[in-house]
């Protein structure tokens, strides 16, 4: 009797344990919203360690915010920008980011440039005190823009006097790379992360279908209107658009994506550029940098760059004249939005 009882209890306990263990991992879902890097972020993860994963993602975003901020006096970037031409130790991580930014700058013929920061500030986009700088001022500022003014070595960096950098163009992309790494470390089977305009989707949805990602219609920035819908699994998606930040003066609209060649808002005939790549670590940074660069380059040069195969990515371009241009890698996963009024073109 005692033995039977003991066995019975053991069985009961094991049932109890497996009952907990077998709980559907999709029921374990955690989603948090934070504000970091001056933008709202949402981290959603599934799986047993989802809670741990999203809070680690939050910590990482805050760490990078403090490290890379251009306005925080304690950040490495602030110190580098105010080192008066002296080289300082920035650490291998920041050095690696600067070098990555340099590589994207070279690859895109300077269309992406982290040293454009003082020009962006001159237009008031860093402080919200918008103004149109005069040509002389821009010309002077542009003499300090360019890769040649930045030097890096191992864990140190130096800027020529007058040059300042802002990693804002890749910081959120880099953060999304870190999030994907954190999610993987925590065995998150599926999840998503929104870091401002930087999106990461991991796995598929709990119902087994891919994530539906709406590309904001640049013509209706304040509405729930999409220029296209993409169904994706395991991907980074980043959009740069002239509608995201702009001001108007004397009836003319000035947006925040500055062409490093002219010092003026890029006038490329595009209203938004969406870059899509698979969720390999590093691609978040790439998508972030390329979305800005390809917006500056315009439709023709952007498509040429895509065709060159330098990097592995796909594109959705929305043009001022009402077309949505899609590269053929996306043709099977793109849903056209009829009521948007756009005409769709697949290019290869």
């Amino acid at each position: 009797m005692k033995r039977i009882t003991a066995v019975l209890m053991a069985v009961l306990m094991i049932t109890g344990l497996t009952a907990c263990g077998e709980a559907d991992p999709d029921k374990a879902r955690e989603s948090i919203q934070v504000i970091a890097m001056d933008t709202p972020m949402v981290f959603t993860a599934y799986g047993e360690k989802s809670t741990h994963a999203v809070y680690m993602a939050e910590d990482e975003a805050r760490r990078l915010d403090a490290l890379l901020s251009r306005t925080d006096e304690n950040s490495v970037i602030y110190q580098l920008n105010h080192a008066d031409g002296l080289g300082i130790t920035v650490g291998e991580e920041v050095c690696g980011l600067i070098e990555a930014a340099e590589a994207y700058s070279q690859a895109t013929g300077g269309a992406f440039d982290i040293s454009i920061a003082p020009v962006v500030s001159a237009w008031g986009f860093t402080t919200d005190r918008y103004r149109v700088p005069d040509e002389a001022e821009l010309a002077e500022l542009l003499t300090h823009v360019g890769s040649e003014h930045i030097t890096t070595a191992e864990d140190a960096a130096a800027l020529d006097p007058g040059t300042q950098i802002d990693l804002g163009g890749i910081a959120k992309g880099y953060a999304s790379d870190r999030v994907v790494a954190i999610f993987r470390e925590n065995n998150v089977p599926r999840g998503k992360a929104e870091l401002g305009g930087n999106i990461l989707v991991m796995g598929d949805k709990p119902d087994g279908t891919p994530w539906r990602v709406g590309v904001q219609d640049p013509a209706k920035p304040d509405e729930e209107a999409y220029a296209a819908i993409l169904t994706l699994e395991d991907a980074f998606i980043v959009t740069s658009g002239s509608y995201q930040r702009y001001f108007e003066e004397n009836g003319k609209r000035y947006h925040h994506i500055i062409d490093p060649a002219t010092g003026h808002p890029a006038d490329s005939g595009l209203t938004s550029v969406t870059v899509v790549a698979d969720s390999a670590e590093g691609n978040g940074t790439m998508c972030d940098a390329l979305s800005t660069a390809l917006f500056v380059m315009g439709e023709e040069r952007a498509l040429d760059f895509w065709r060159s195969g330098t990097y592995d990515f796909e594109l959705v371009l929305v043009t001022e004249d009402g077309r949505v241009v899609v590269t053929d890698g996306l043709k099977d996963i793109l849903t056209e939005v009829e009521e948007s009024g756009y005409t769709y073109e697949i290019v290869s």
Binding site: M9, L12, M13, G16, L17, C20, A23, E48
Partner: protein, 171 residues
Amino acid sequence: MKLTTKQLTLCGILTTLALALSVAENQIPLSLAIPIPGIKLGLANIVTVFALYVLGPGQAMLILLARCLLGAVFAGNMNALLFSLLGGVTAMIVMILLSRSRRLSVYGVSIGGAAAHNCGQIAAAVLTLGNTAPLYYLPVLLGVALFTGALTGTVAACLFRALAHTDLMKG
């Protein structure tokens, strides 16, 4: 309630022991293995079970109240008081009722107490947070209570066996 010097001493020692066990189990990061806030082994329950049988329900309750109060004071966290009180008192009531049934061994009483303890804590969480989200944890916590209850039951049984021939048990 009138206490003899022996009973009073025993109450004091057991309260101290319960507090020490509470502190000790906080060093065991059980929440790393099972990521649920507030998950514990409930080692202090051993003292409650022991006191319940040796000193009776009244004094066992006194020890419990003293343990919760002092624990909260030491931790400097009065918010935790509601949690430990609600959990502890619920467990106590269930264990008193279960121990009345002579058929149950210390194992059954401990498991019942551990389960009740978790129910009480979740109730406290629902009360303080004002929403029902913590209920989500209850099924898992109850499953875990089977093990922690059996564990404390085993320790209590060993304790009774070891002390079976001492004065203590002849109160």
